[in-house]
């Protein structure tokens, strides 16, 4: 009773928050008053075993106090969201030391990303790690380009404009993909009933290809994939924007990588003095900033390669008139097997592409039919 009486209930400032014990705390007090930590250190000094419970308590206090200032009270950030922000600059710094460091860091990063991705798909916690990784990558690459590569005075203004245009277009596309992801989801009355069975009911009627997404916990109309890098589902309303976003970002990455790598290496003209490509990159590691630019352009090339494979796959599926979900249901799971499967929603090559590029028609059709469906079910 006494505690509640003297507790100040005025609005929190941006650095204050309510901690796990419902006390008002400040970010600056994050290093003070942790009894678990004090006891553990005492035990370590006296060479006694620290019980596991203490360690978990310390970890939970640490997670509770890990906050950033925000309007209306400090917001908690989870470790998996904050990890890419510290990990990426560190990996870039290590990779820029020598050729072998670059190779080692690339291998480690690729393997751990594959492992994390498979773990994520299997165990499904909704994590923001991949999304924050995407954002941090974009910000760091832009900073490296504008603050490191441009001061060499070798990039022309129109080349920079083209690159910025591609970056901004892909940014807008992906932003819209995220905001319109909810429109592709079918809103159900009882959220708890969002299961595979409910979505299969929708699937029998129109709109077609409505599948359940375990991560988004919703039925998604014309579900293609769940994109962890954008932390949203790709369905009916945002598929077109997603494909265009992938196209623009692949273009931006390739163009930015070529501009960077021809700046730091010795370039040469190819194809009748039109295309400038790097020729001799032997002395990039003598200077740290040049090595950093080189490493970031290698990173861009690898990501662009993966994006182009994704783009090719998406174009192939559009040509066949299938969604990603349908393709995954096909036996054999290969690109050729999809050709041989029966594709109920395919209308032929040209019609499929026409439908994809003018997505408004199918949206209206889908809306009308879903209204019909919901009316019938009611």
């Amino acid at each position: 009773m006494g505690k509640e009486e003297w507790q100040d209930n005025s609005p929190l400032c941006c650095c204050e928050y309510w901690n796990v014990e419902q006390e008002r705390s400040h970010i600056l007090g994050c290093c003070c008053n942790c009894e678990d930590l004090d006891e553990s250190v005492e035990r370590i000094i006296v060479c006694e075993r620290v019980p596991f419970q203490r360690v978990t308590d310390i970890m939970s206090t640490f997670q509770d106090r890990l906050r950033i200032p925000w309007r209306g009270g400090a917001k908690q950030i989870s470790i998996d969201s904050a990890l890419p922000i510290f990990l990426q600059p560190l990996l870039a710094y290590i990779a820029a030391q020598s050729v072998w460091c670059t190779v080692l860091v690339s291998m480690v990063m690729l393997l751990s990303m594959c492992y994390l991705y498979s773990v994520f798909v299997q165990f499904l916690p909704r994590t923001k790690f991949f999304f924050v990784w995407t954002l941090t990558s974009a910000v760091l690459l832009l900073l490296v380009f504008e603050l490191s590569v441009v001061p060499f005075l070798e990039i022309m203004p129109h080349e920079n404009c083209v690159l910025m245009g591609l970056v901004v277009s892909s940014g807008i596309c992906f932003y819209k993909v995220r905001t319109r992801a909810d429109l592709s989801c079918v809103v159900h009355a009882n959220v708890g009933d969002e299961t595979e069975l409910v979505c299969s009911v929708y699937r029998r009627r129109f709109p077609p290809s409505t599948f359940h997404c375990r991560i988004c916990q919703a039925c998604v109309i014309k579900r293609d994939i769940h994109c962890v890098w954008l932390d949203c589902c790709i369905g009916d309303k945002n598929h077109q924007l997603f494909v265009f976003g992938v196209l623009f970002s692949a273009g931006a990455l390739v163009y930015g990588a070529i501009l960077t790598i021809t700046t730091v290496c010795h370039p040469s003209f190819y194809i009748m003095e039109t295309v400038l490509l790097p020729d001799d990159c032997s002395d990039v590691y003598h200077d740290f900033m040049i090595a950093l630019c080189f490493v970031s352009s290698i990173y861009c090339i690898v990501i662009a390669f993966l994006l182009l494979i994704l783009l090719g796959h998406q174009c192939w599926l559009i040509t066949l008139g299938m969604t990603g979900q349908e393709w995954r249901c096909v036996q054999g799971y290969t690109w050729c097997a999809a050709l041989r499967s029966d594709r109920p929603h395919s209308r032929g090559l040209l019609c499929n592409w026409k439908n994809f590029l003018s997505c408004r028609k199918s949206v209206r059709e889908g809306q009308a039919r879903s209204k019909e469906g919901s009316m019938n079910s009611a």
Binding site: P151, M164, E273, L276
Partner: protein, 335 residues
């Protein structure tokens, strides 16, 4: 009433915030897209068709024509190849000996066209120290190149004999002085040993104004970083070089002496000119990079007062050796 004013205040705060954000966004955008952060995109250059008019022939050549029965060569030879040329980077010592004999190069690295009197009498002065490999590649490439342009030329390699920081500018002054003792050259080209011209239409002759030859260099992505750049390879008439009092003798170490030279030229009312970017293409031979000198900015600032007192008129040096090698005239200098 109170709530309505409350809403109005809230909306105006929102508007003010949006306004501030948009101003900040526009400011950041202007900073990012400002042209001075990038390479020079539209600099004035001589058009390809005007090159012939801009070249300044030697007055001495006309006198020579009267004495001999040979005709005058045209300012620019006909049917020059227009494709991009590349140097042969695997050159051996043996190839160089063979080169002098095959191309009829006179001792000291000099040559003139056998059938006509060239209108360009050019001394190519190259400062040098410890770049043996680059020198071999350069010489094996440049002799056939210059002969196709029908020039009366001689190549001077000025080597710094003293240990310590490399003084490129003073070596070029020495090269100028030594070249004039051999022949009254009317055109001087000050050239770095690691630059290879890639187009035959890039005439190694002088234009009416001092010319920055290496404007389109492969290590700069074939762009010009800034318009006042005057390093690498320059072509200047003998009388113009004398007028600006040559280079400054005080720039020891890498950097600054080309900017000082450019200031001297501007100070005398002359302007720089350049050939078109696709003509003035150069490729740089790779070598270990030099660390920039700490003094270069101080030297540049103080150099402005020394235009009259520091240059060819106050040049002091000692020639240790002067040898007429098959492919070049070698001057070993004690600075």
């Amino acid at each position: 009433m109170l709530t309505r004013t409350g809403i109005n205040v809230f909306q105006s705060k929102d508007v003010i915030k949006r306004f501030i954000f948009s101003i900040a966004f526009v400011f950041v955008l202007c900073c990012i897209l400002h042209p001075s952060r990038f390479a020079s995109s539209y600099y004035p250059y001589i058009k390809y068709s005007d090159i012939e008019n801009e070249l300044e022939p030697s007055p001495h050549a006309l006198a020579l024509v009267k004495e001999s029965d040979k005709p005058l060569c045209s300012l620019i030879p006909k049917e020059l190849e227009t494709s991009l040329q590349y140097p042969n980077e695997s050159v051996r010592e043996y190839d160089l000996k063979y080169l002098a004999h095959m191309h009829n190069i006179a001792e000291g690295g000099a040559w003139e066209p056998p059938q006509c009197i060239s209108q360009h009498q050019v001394a190519i002065v190259i400062p040098y120290r410890n770049r043996t490999l680059q020198l071999q590649i350069f010489l094996s490439y440049i002799h056939p190149f210059l002969q196709k342009q029908m020039l009366n030329y001689r190549i001077f390699i000025i080597e710094q004999g003293t240990k310590g920081a490399f003084n490129r500018a003073k070596l070029l002054n020495v090269g100028y002085a030594e070249a004039l003792k051999i022949f009254p050259y009317h055109c001087f080209i000050f050239h770095d040993v690691d630059l290879i011209p890639q187009k035959l239409s890039n005439m190694y002759a002088c234009t009416h104004q001092p010319r920055h030859m290496s404007s389109s260099l492969n290590t700069f992505r074939y762009n010009l970083p800034y318009e006042q750049l005057f390093g690498g390879a320059v072509a200047i008439l003998q009388k113009q070089f004398e007028l600006v009092n040559g280079f400054s003798n005080f720039f020891y170490g890498w950097g600054g002496e080309d900017d000082d030279f450019q200031s001297r030229i501007i100070n005398r009312g002359m302007t720089l000119c350049r050939f078109p970017p696709d003509v003035a293409r150069y490729t740089m031979l790779s070598h270990a990079k030099e660390l920039p000198s700490d003094n270069r900015f101080l030297n540049l600032r103080l150099g402005r007062e020394r235009f009259e007192t520091d240059g060819v008129n106050t040049l002091k040096y000692t020639v240790i050796k002067l040898v007429y090698y098959p492919l070049y005239t070698w001057v070993l200098v004690d600075l």
